[in-house]
């Protein structure tokens, strides 16, 4: 067991090292959610004046979307990095290591969980400095937990694609998947204000529950009624994509 933990820690360390060694590669992923938050609130900020809008201002409403976007981008980047490792042969050497495939996957996914806190932290610092209300430590801790879970699901999804296509050219597929999952929700406005077709998709999309779980502390109080659906949705996403990723890892080299 301690050997497994050492392996996971080493792979996490490698993933985090990339931020320091190739900062140019990490910067767009860190900045993008903040740019989206600032841009969307500048362009669509007056939408908060619509009847039944559940937040005082659009920026507060959109900050949780940026947190989820950061997690999605980080998960997709994990898949792109894995595809690069496959192209360059490093992954084949990793497969020869005396470690279980599920442990190797856990190391890759765990690094995504930690890395997603970087864009979220940057986003929150900018948001709070611009006047977004402080949601409280509990709400932030819950938000961090939920976005780490989403990053894990996104990393597993991107890993499945990386193992399937074995090339960085699959990057748009990884990015589009997370993009759709996060924005086809109640991202811009409350459920009641969505158009009928988007409301139908948002109702089916498990990420809607994750978003509402992160958002609840920003626009009101944290309640168990809004927390448990988020946790169940995340468990389902991580379970599904995790199982597919483990299957993909086990099939490597056969």
């Amino acid at each position: 067991m301690s050997g497994d933990l050492r392996t996971i820690r080493a792979l996490m360390g490698r993933g985090l090292n990339e931020i320091l060694r190739v900062p140019g590669g990490a910067i767009p992923g860190v900045l993008a959610p903040t740019i989206f938050m600032l841009g969307l609130s500048a362009a669509f900020g007056k939408a908060a004046a619509l009847p039944n809008f559940t937040a005082d201002d659009f920026r507060t409403f959109i900050v949780p979307v940026g947190m989820l976007q950061g997690a999605g981008f980080t998960g997709a980047a994990t898949g792109v990095n894995l595809a690069r490792d496959i192209e360059q042969g490093w992954f084949d050497r990793l497969m020869l290591a005396p470690a279980r495939r599920s442990v190797l996957l856990a190391g890759v996914v765990a690094s995504a969980c930690l890395r997603c806190l970087l864009p979220a932290t940057f986003l929150l610092v900018v948001a709070f400095s611009l006047g977004v209300d402080w949601p409280g430590v509990g709400a932030l801790a819950l938000g961090a937990l939920l976005i780490m879970g989403l990053a894990a699901a996104a990393a597993c999804y991107a890993t499945v694609l990386a193992l399937r296509f074995r090339t960085q050219q699959a990057a748009p597929l990884m990015q589009v998947g997370t993009f759709v999952a996060i924005l086809f929700t109640t991202a811009y406005v409350p459920r009641e204000l969505l158009s009928d077709w988007l409301r139908a998709i948002a109702d089916l999309n498990p990420v809607t529950h994750v978003l509402e779980g992160v958002r609840q502390g920003f626009i009101g109080d944290v309640t168990w009624a809004q927390t448990w659906p988020a946790l169940v949705a995340l468990a389902g996403l991580v379970g599904l994509f995790g199982a597919l990723a483990v299957r993909g890892m086990r099939r490597q080299g056969r």
């Binding site: 767009p28 007056k46 406005v189």
Partner: protein, 255 residues
Amino acid sequence: MIAASVALARRALRNALRRPQFLAPLVLFPTLFLAVNVGGLERTTSLQGFPQVDGFLDFQLAAAITQSLLLGGVSAGIAAALDIEGGFFDRLVASPTPRLAIVLGRVLAASVIAAIQVVYFLVLGLVFGASIQGGALGVLSVLAIGIVAGTGFGALGMMIALRTRNASTVQGIFPLVFVILFISSAFFPRELLSAPADVLAAYNPLSYIAEGMRQPIAFDNAIGPVLEGLAAAAGVTVVAIGLSVLALRGRLREA
């Protein structure tokens, strides 16, 4: 020089079509963004100050076209940077190809791709219930502004590629595309933008390009916004081609 420019444009187009994974994001991301914007914000047309339109899709179509054209510029820049990284550019410089054709060939290819992008979004809009109020003349106006703007964005991409010589760096300007778009009136009426976008939008040529295309789609063929859009697109194109030629000269001096 014309023959060389056309030959290089044909090569660039062939390469682009051979790698659809680079072309697909040009329409895929703006299409998804268009869907989310329309589905999420269609009720904003009832806000006070929002101009009278048949639907939010009519209003957003020009934004999607502008976004797609900007991404086309990034894609053109990446393709040019890959040519530099792969050594094709050096072989081209060593051949008796007119220097200006190196820029014009890539820019010509960008204008053809821009025409495809504009047609794609107009068809998409019509399929999903948008109406082009300006009729056939309106379609021609949108095409004209779109092609000229797409040419300019392609030249900007080429300039960045010649300066950086690195595809990853050109790819890194992707978030910048959104920054420039968000501080324009591409997505929302200028009167309803929040500070500081409301002020910056007046100085952003993208505002005029998007409004120039929006006028015949969502309103009528009023000549003023269309001419402003065309002038803004032409201005971007002339400046961008000039900067590309300067970047090429700098690159040739170093070679």
